[in-house]
Amino acid sequence: MTQLFIFIAIAVALLILLLVAMRRQPARAAGSAGELVTAKKTLESLQSGLLPPEHVEQVFGRRDLAYVEEMGSKDIRDLFLSERKRLALMWIRLVRRQVRALKEFHVSRSRMFTQMSWWKEFSLAFNFASLEIRCGILQILMQWRGAYAAPDFARRTAASAGRVCSTLDQSLAFLTPSVPVSLGTESDADGSMV
């Protein structure tokens, strides 16, 4: 009788374990397509929206400040400086967030898709760490002294982030479909388009 109870208890315990196992969220496949696409989009957003020199120049360049100073109005100057500070802080937060997202992606997933030399890995890790520190310093400087606190430092940070992006871009290059250049431009011997 005691044995029966023990077997029933074991059966119930196993059943509960089974139910718990069934209720668990299925583990996401390492390097799932969604994560790859998100990483690629983050990379594109950085490369096309936040880091191009002409965009960086618009936020940190002094051309507009010179025009505002010509007005000779303190109110307009203050409004302009507070707007530029807001934009500069927004820029640095976005760059920082996206660089962090790329670092996390690289640490957890990217190495499954690419063969990087240990030197390149080390260099990338150093660049990520250096970028994190640079972004932190820039954010503090901008918070304290506004968009024109350290424009050259901002430009150099953007350039450095751009270099990290191009390294990562190479490791995600397989997501960019290659278009055959010759398609539709070659002709058969009879002159018909291929």
Binding site: Q58, V59, Y67, V68, M71, D75, I76, L79, E83, W91
Partner: protein, 152 residues
Amino acid sequence: MVAKNKRADVIAASEDLRRRTLAQTSSALDRLIYLASMRDYNTGLYVHQGLAARFSAEVACEALADCHQECFRELIFLGLKDLTEQLNVYMRSTGTGADDFLRTWRELEPYRVAVPVGTDSLVAQFLFSNLKVALAILEHQNSHVPEPIPVA
């Protein structure tokens, strides 16, 4: 091949739009406001009867979207001085009194709905910020213009 032909149609429609309609506008800001007004608020699709009659509704929509993107990019790369001048020209072209126009634009910020779909948030914020400062500059200039002396 179908996609290629359609693209050619869109290019032709864009050219047609630039030549017949947009050429009559005075600035990129003017074009941006005009093109944004062609977009249905609920669907986000652009509607232009004349262009749709010549091409197709779909091609017209795509051509308007392309032109909208184009003039938005043009505005983004303008310096604050040029943007202020464009805003001034646009304000005068509306026929509204400067005070009314500036107050309405400052309070309603109508330019916020004039950006193309899919615009990067920082880039859009950059334009909004510059327009806000441009409005303040015009208000400052407007308040410093001497009142015309009434003729007895």
